[in-house]
Structure formats: C-alpha cells, structure tokens
Amino acid sequence: MHGAGTLHLPWRVSEVLAVLSEAGSEADAGRLGDYASAQMGVEWSFRLRAWPLNFERLPKACWSVLATMLRKPLTVAQIAARTGLEEMEIGGYLELIAADGALDRFAAPRTPAPAPRSEGSRWRSLAGRIGRALGFS
C-alpha cells in the first residue's frame, strides 16, 4: 500500500494528476480555509445571494469583496485581482458572508488568474474629492 499523495513506478498520468490536484487542494485549503478552497482541479466561484444586512459591522475591505460578487460569480483569484486583497483575507471574508447565508458557490474548471485591475483609482479619487467637499477627509 502506498500512502495518500505518493506515486509508484511506473507512473500513470491519471495518478500524477490526482496527486498534483490533491496537493493543490491542500495548499489552497491552507491559504483560504475550507469554504473557499479548491477541490480536485476544480475551483469555486462565488456570487452574492443578498447583501448582508449587517455589512456595516464588517471591515471595509470586506465591502469591496461584496461589491465584486454582485453581478456574476467570481473566483477568489478574480476577486483578488479586482480588490488587491490577499487571497487568504478574501477566504476569511467569504466564510463570514457564507455564514450569513448571503453567498452562492459554484464549481468551475480552474482558470488562469487574471491580471489586477487598476481603473478603480479613478473612483477612489472622485470619492475623495466628494468626501472633502462634504467636509470629510
């Protein structure tokens, strides 16, 4: 008998893929927590079912995660690219949102991580100008 995660000769492609996928899943689980971690070559996409009523008690970084999932399902990597947050932090927020019953989760084949988005700075700048006009820094 061979232990989980081990290979024996001659190597078979299916066994190699299974071990690699298992290793990837364990690594994801370590980074993201159980709710958001990938399983066997599949990753989760997340979409809001409802905006949590208690969101004002959540960290503001979590608001940005909520906003990304409004329109369509996104993977943790896609949320990270949009928000600039670490995937582990996002995984924690997803668990909070899921615990509130406000999240739907869909399985999808793994896709390459997207490039970070940078167009948000325009709105940050405008929000800052409006905030200053309102008397807030």
Partner: protein, 187 residues
C-alpha cells in the same frame, strides 16, 4: 474639458430627496413641482411630486450633478434626463410612512432594469431606531425582485449620513461596476 457626474436620489414624496439634494448643493436647489394626479390627488390636493436638481462643485472644476426623482412609474420618463453620465442611484425609503414598502415596491418595479446594471443602494430615512424590521422587509422585497443592494439606515439631514451613502456607492462603483468604458459615464 471639465467633467461632470450625476447621482440620482429616487423615492416617494417625503422620502428625503429634496433634503439630500439641498444638503449637498452649492447652488439654490431647483424643484419642479407637478400637480398630483390619480390616487395621489385624492390624498393630497395640491402639488406633491417634485423633480429636484442641485450641483456640487468638486476640486479641479468638476461638478457633481444631483437629481431627485419620484419613484412612481408614471414619472419614469424623467430618468432619461439623468441616464447619461449617471454614477449611481440612491433609493430613499421613508420609514415614517405607513406605505414605505409599497413605495419601494413600485420603485423596484419601475427601475428594475436600471437597478440591475447600475451601482445603487437603499437608504432608509426618518427611522426612529436602526429600523431592523423595515430593513429586513426591504431585503425580502429585493429578493423577490431578484435584485441585490446594500440597505442602510440614514438621517438625510446629516452630512455624515450622506457621506456614508456616498462611501457605499463609490465602493460599488469601484469594485462592482461592470461598465468598462468610462466614456459611458461622462456627462
């Protein structure tokens, strides 16, 4: 070119649209009143429906154009005035009204298409407390309408409350807006 952006407040008469526009505007707010008609005329015999307009000057010469629109379907034609260059929508709910949910229901129905695509939030105004039960009822209405939005309790008379609404709106705009071409927003 000096840019301008638009934000619209939508709600029933008395929900706080005029208060919000007046609180933000650098110019004397303009209010266009329309004679009440139909069932509303039976309740209030004079003018009750208003179109509000104000402007807020920003650093760099930019302007934020502020509009207050009725939530009723029969006035939805006014939305065409604000559609181009619109950053987002704040739907006001009058917590002191016995018909608050009826008004919200009509607003959601009237503007469902716009609310599916634009950044928006629900602001419960005139509440005596945190209005938890009303906010839950609003959430249920949203669910039934297949819409998703933050729901907050505000005091439209206070600038910090308005700043809070804008903070949420800009979070939605920055992270949740699928419109990729900024030109679509320019007024």
């Amino acid at each position: 070119m000096v840019e301008s952006y638009k934000v619209v407040f939508i709600g029933e008469p008395g929900a706080g649209k005029t208060t919000c526009v007046a609180a933000l505007s650098d110019i004397e707010p303009i209010t266009t009143e329309v004679p009440a008609s139909g069932e509303l005329a039976l309740m209030k015999d004079t003018t009750t429906v208003a179109f509000d307009y104000g402007e807020m000057a920003l650093e760099g010469g930019e302007r934020l154009l502020l509009y207050g629109l009725p939530g009723q379907e029969r006035f939805s034609f006014m939305f065409e005035v604000v559609r181009h260059g619109l950053l987002g929508i704040i739907v006001l709910v009058d917590a002191s009204s016995a018909h608050a949910l009826d008004g919200l229901r009509e607003t959601l129905k009237t503007y469902a298409k716009e609310l599916e695509h634009l950044p928006w939030l629900i602001a419960v105004n005139k509440a005596r407390d945190s209005a938890d039960s009303l906010r839950r009822a609003c959430q249920t209405l949203l669910f039934q309408s297949r819409l998703i939005a933050p729901i907050v309790t505000v005091d439209a008379r206070k600038r910090e409350s308005i700043a809070h609404m804008f903070e949420i709106l800009f979070t939605l705009l920055e992270y949740g807006d699928e419109r990729s071409r900024e030109q679509e927003l320019l007024a």
